[in-house]
Symmetry: D2
Subunit: 173 residues, 4 copies
């Protein structure tokens, strides 16, 4: 199928629906940077961080997928190109992270925490931008890759996604 274009790398951007303004600015810039780098955005499709990252991506001509908890594509924010209706509530969080090659987590709602847990449990890299810090029995957990700003988050997510794809290809041969 040499004439079909290669699919873009999809990066999941996860964060709450009602975050502080600062998180919305970070998310919009992450969306812009992902689109400039040719990566697609996958998210939960609703408002807050999800809408901000899609708005940023569309401003730079990117592609956006929204994995919705409900049954109605009209629930998607207006910057979602492809609304997927799961009808499964927050179980859809699993699909958001599995569809991506890496995850960028912004700010700290509990739904975001569930997505971080699902991604790390599945070996999908997670880059954190002003989000949860984890420790277990008093020892810090270094599963989340810390980023200092949106450009750094995008750079680290794409690098981690490439590393993971190379490892999967090597394992398949």
């Amino acid at each position: 199928m040499s004439t079909l274009p290669r699919r873009p790398t999809y990066i999941a951007v996860v964060g709450g629906g009602s975050p502080p303004p600062r998180a919305l600015e970070l998310a919009e810039q992450v969306g812009r940077d992902l689109a400039k780098r040719g990566a697609g955005v996958v998210c939960g499709g609703l408002g807050g961080v999800m809408e901000a990252v899609c708005r940023g991506a569309k401003a730079e001509g990117g592609t956006t997928i929204g994995i919705l908890p409900g049954n109605d594509p009209q629930e998607a924010n207006p910057y979602v190109d492809v609304p997927i209706c799961t009808g499964m509530g927050y179980a859809r969080n699993v699909i958001v992270v599995k569809t991506a090659s890496a995850v960028i987590a912004i700010d700290g709602a509990y739904g975001t925490l569930s997505e971080i847990g699902h991604a790390l449990g599945d070996g999908i890299p997670v880059v954190g931008l002003e989000t949860w810090q984890l420790s277990s029995n008093g020892v810090g957990d270094n599963g989340i890759i810390n980023a200092s700003d949106p450009a750094d988050a995008v750079e680290k997510a794409l690098a981690a996604a490439r590393r993971r794809e190379r490892l999967k290809q090597a394992a398949a041969h």
Copy 2:
């Protein structure tokens, strides 16, 4: 958001992974006709009818979504633009039909039957093309709209999708 393009109508095309050659021809033509009419295709993302409909759609420049049962976007057939990894096995059939405004069922595997049941149970119209016929306690069920050929299936699916969208808008006002 007046500058954002309107999303296309998505039509789910459902059918088995190992159908007879006749079903593959029907599916490819359905894909071509949907793309010509500006509709997007959503399917289960794998082979057989799913691959044929995507191949037809891409030949006419359409958009294709594949809702995969597994965790690896590489499992999608090469004509899928947007691979969604659910990791949920055949529970993903529910998502295939919910994401669409109408369903076209081709040929007759049992997975297709589950998708027909989920769609009709949710009030999503189903158009059948050489697929299952249903009767209950000896009385024929007319839930499935019969189509005579791919062009007729696409015409009836788009008309049913428009009727449903108008009803939903009317109900929302």
Copy 3:
């Protein structure tokens, strides 16, 4: 763990929430007969056929599992011993059939049709009692085992469940 009792065989009983009175009588008798034979009942946990089969099973001291579409165990009918809250809507139909060794389908709602499709697609035997008849391209499909009355349905479901369990054990050795 020689002192742990063997788990019962679970049989899924599927059917609509608003069926005709005749289906409720059939379902209650199926529940009674399953409990007398020592089998557990798994169902969708709500009303109609689901409530009738649980009422029958409890009248004979059986065990009943209700796989609910929503988040609230109080939605379960009063004859459900174990309410499972999925929050996944009708995607829970998949779990109802997968949890069982065989399925008895009574009467004919579309949700029941989706459960028949999921079960047959997974190789889980389905016994039909005044339910859907399937044909494909004009040829009758014999996937559903027909039963003449509740006692016959229970007998055939338990026999099919045992055959399937023997085949799985043989495959595992």
Copy 4:
């Protein structure tokens, strides 16, 4: 239905499949204490913390539900009374917490983290026993109720479950 016994309160016990021996001891004691208090156990049905809590519960005559990721009830540990086959992989974590009135988290695998996130996002109380500590942007999060030992965890989980059930009943009236 005055003659039907009231259903027990179900408490989810979540923790990894390969934890240190200390976590297994804690889990087994939690299972014993829950059963002595008349509460049912719901868990992911596999090994490690899941098996230990079920073993403890059965030693005291309790009831145990295992929500499995796969399709085969034989994958459940031998102390599971009711194996539920979801076929949905780790998306089943959502069902584990939704089925319970409160959650006890032991030790710290990433799947456990996803369950903590899903529960807190849904307003289901979480009691932690030597598990994850969460902070967000440098500020500790107090969503998880800390317990000092198994008896304290069971006491706090049952108290939180009762509070939640009272609030739900008050909201329904």
